[in-house]
């Protein structure tokens, strides 16, 4: 009975989404003030019913209600409680519900800050969000209902996919979705601005903090996913250019371009139509990502669905949303001309390059991701596009992007070039070059051709980002949150670049068959295999190996790689043992019994790999810093609020 209540709540949420869309868009269009107030109410009601529906499903998981098909397929009575809750988004239906929940939370956040927006604009934003919510709720209810009963109920469930039984992956989807879905807010702001045909650039100021927060969450979510793949898939890879990874990476790249072009639009009133286009593109890529991951067109660990109806539904939705937004764009964008100009060496010009290069990078990823799909659809044969394509092609736009960054952050707006900063830039570059070359040739050795370039750029980005904040500290001036956040984000990027550079250049990996007592040496670390023993966990059994690592005869660590066999699904999972360190990770993975008393093992030495995720995390912190700083005292929201009261006065009078 409770389950049916949840189902009913979801249907009510669908109706309220329709109401939100209608009142939000029709209210301002027909100039009916009363209707404006109905949109936030509908959003709030929708939120309540979604919480109710989600709670019901979580309850079914906790109580092991295997009469619900979704629970029976993705949980088991032996599954630990935490994973039973996380199993909610362990497969297609529940992860869609999560998508909608996240959208609802974003919508409520917009409602909470509605007083800072002109009423008509705010209503339109809610209206567009309502359309999106309606589309996804309809999709869930008609093609992917998580509340379907199973008759007769099964005695026990099929268990959660073992690779998903992990802390990082349990929190990865909510965080990733927060980023993904957050671009819906940017999209809604862009649509509202286009519907109104606004000639000013205030919409950019309003859109900025939402976009930056979404972008930060997306960075964090992608990094978590990569970290998970690294230790959970068992073999030490952290980025595979898998379509599903690309699906979240493309909106992030375009989102990065968007937050930079928003800065230009906000500060200088330039790039208006380009910024709108990027906002549409970022959310379109989020939708496309959902389509790619959820429709079953791409088979990978993430693609839960293989039902063609779902694919067609999402495709139709995609066409309506993107097509609608682009039509609106074609109609309204020509109005949004900018009069100001700028010089070749100016902040605007560098941000233009930033945008171009990021969009090219996103296009490169897009091409590689879609090519196998297109070739398959047109019967041109079966292709696989992997790292040999992505790695070099991605670097073509990204290397100049990184090289221009340090110059760009020190260029003045409009004109004036780099005059005052030229000397500091040269000094920081010289420092970076010396440090990088010492690192490349002194510490790590055996560089690839691009290793010194990556190292110099990474260190230069970090040093040059520090120039302005340190200069202010030295002179005893407050560092504004925007400057601090930007510096933090760029330092994160520099760390990320360093991490990638060295992990790509200096990783050592060895597959070997060893009998107990046998050993192998990698990068000065001696890995000795001491044999295996049987183990038993809550829902699996397996083998646990012991590997003693020494360096120059001194003990470093003892690793316990495992091979687990999960009872319910019978699947086997390799769990790598990782000794982590800021300067290097050591990994051991256990393969199979290869006969004659030997086991196959993989050992790895990965320098600076922590910098990859740490860098991404710090980038996200930079974004959050900017937004929190301006909320507390910055002119952004306050100025917007002042403007709002002015605009809203005629309406409310």
């Amino acid at each position: 009975m409770i389950v049916e209540l949840g189902h009913y709540a979801l249907i009510l949420a669908l109706l309220l989404a329709a109401a939100q869309a209608f009142f939000g868009l029709a209210g301002p269009a027909l100039a009916r003030e009363r209707w404006f107030g109905a949109a936030p109410s509908a959003a709030a009601g929708q939120f309540v019913f979604l919480i109710l529906a989600t709670t019901v499903l979580v309850h079914a998981f906790i109580e092991d209600d295997f009469s619900v098909r979704y629970v029976a397929e993705n949980s088991n009575s032996a599954l630990p409680l935490f994973y039973r809750i996380a199993a909610l988004w362990g497969a297609h239906e529940g992860s869609l519900l999560l998508w909608i929940d996240v959208l609802s939370v974003w919508t409520i956040a917009v409602v909470a800050r509605l007083r800072f927006l002109p009423p008509a604009f705010g209503a339109r934003v809610l209206g567009v969000l309502g359309i999106i919510s309606f589309g996804f709720l309809a999709f869930t209810l008609f093609t992917s209902d998580p509340f379907v009963r199973l008759t007769p109920p099964v005695p026990d469930g099929n268990d959660l996919n073992p690779v998903l039984q992990d802390f990082a992956l349990a929190i990865h989807p909510p965080i990733l979705y927060t980023g993904y879905v957050g671009f819906a807010v940017s999209f809604a702001f862009a649509c509202a601005a286009m519907i109104e045909g606004r000639r000013d650039q205030l919409w950019a100021r309003w859109m900025r903090p939402w976009t930056v927060i979404a972008w930060a969450f997306l960075a964090w979510g992608i990094a978590l996913g990569s970290w998970w793949a690294y230790y959970e898939l068992g073999w030490g890879g952290f980025w595979f250019w898998d379509p599903v990874e690309n699906a979240s990476f493309m909106p992030w790249l375009v989102g990065t371009a968007l937050i930079h072009s928003l800065a230009v639009t906000d500060k200088r009133g330039l790039f208006k139509s380009w910024t709108l286009l990027l906002a549409v593109a970022a959310f379109s890529l989020s939708l496309l990502g959902t389509f790619l991951v959820r429709s079953g067109v791409l088979v990978s660990v993430h693609s839960f669905a293989a039902d063609p109806r779902r694919g067609i539904f999402i495709l139709a939705f995609l066409i309506i949303m993107i097509g609608g937004a682009l039509t609106l764009y074609a109609w309204r964008a020509p109005r949004m001309v900018s009069q100001a100009g700028f010089e070749l060496v100016s902040r605007e010009a560098f941000l233009l390059f930033n945008n171009l290069l990021l969009v090219i990078a996103a296009t490169v990823v897009f091409g590689g991701t879609m090519a196998p799909l297109i070739a398959g659809t047109l019967h041109l044969g079966t292709l696989s596009v992997g790292p040999p394509y992505f790695n070099p092609s991605f670097l073509v736009p990204v290397l100049p992007l990184l090289a221009l960054l340090s110059l760009g952050i020190h260029a003045r707006w409009r004109r004036g070039g780099l005059r005052e900063s030229r000397q500091r830039l040269l000094v920081s570059f010289a420092f970076a070059a010396v440090l990088a070359l010492a690192l490349v040739f002194g510490v790590y050795a055996h560089p690839l051709p691009l290793t010194p370039i990556g190292a110099v750029l990474g260190i230069w980005i970090i040093l040059s980002s520090l120039i302005d904040p340190l200069d202010r500290l030295r002179r005893g001036i407050r560092v504004p949150a925007a400057m601090l956040g930007m510096a933090i984000a760029h330092i994160g990027l520099g760390m990320f670049v360093l991490g990638i550079t060295f992990v790509q250049s200096n990783t050592l990996e060895r597959d070997i068959a060893l009998k107990p007592g046998g050993s192998v040496t990698l990068a000065g670390y001696n890995f000795r295999f001491d044999g295996v023993q049987n183990i038993e966990g809550p829902n699996y059994e397996g083998l646990r190996g012991t590997v003693t690592v020494t360096s120059d005869g001194k003990p470093v660590t003892v690793l316990h790689p495992e091979k687990r066999r999960f009872w319910v699904q019978g699947s086997v999972q390799t769990t790598a043992a990782i000794a982590d360190g800021l300067h290097r990770d050591l990994l051991a993975s256990l393969g199979d019994d290869v006969g004659a008393g030997a086991y196959s093992l993989r050992f790895q030495y990965r320098p600076l790999i922590r910098f990859v995720w740490l860098g991404a995390f710090i980038m996200a912190i930079g974004g959050v810093t900017v937004v929190i700083g301006r909320r507390q005292r910055g002119p952004g929201w306050a100025a917007a609020a002042q403007h709002t009261t002015v605009v809203s006065e005629p309406g409310s009078a």
Binding site: I360, P388, V594, G595
Partner: protein, 149 residues
Amino acid sequence: MTPRRRRLYWVLGILAGVGLAAALALRAFQQNVMEYYDPTHIAAGEIAQGKRFTLGGMVEQGSLKRTPGSLEVNFVVTDFRHSIPVHYDKVLPDLFREGAGMVAHGRLDAQGTFIADEVLAKHDEKYMPPEVARSLAAGKQDAGKEGAH
């Protein structure tokens, strides 16, 4: 320089940059995209020796042979019409087993053995790569027709 002319230079410069990037990406694409073949394609002699490609099919029951105490394995991949011997000397992925689908990257040697440099680890128990599923379905259909004759 008039504003109009300046804008023209901007546009030309950007177009040249974008064009160059596109050309480089296309080149990388042509050189690095791997085509997929099944054992029937190979038997038809469609592949030159030494070309790197993706092989897909089912691991034949009872064909897996290990050299005891080493990583060297040999097995046979089939699409029910033709089969091809495969050699590999790294750790096999968790879901690799006889009677299951597999995908591998590698090259053919002079004897017609597929020397795999990577056997792909896929992590869903029910997972059968779609291209392999297609090859196998086609193979089974052919085998069925022959049986009817």
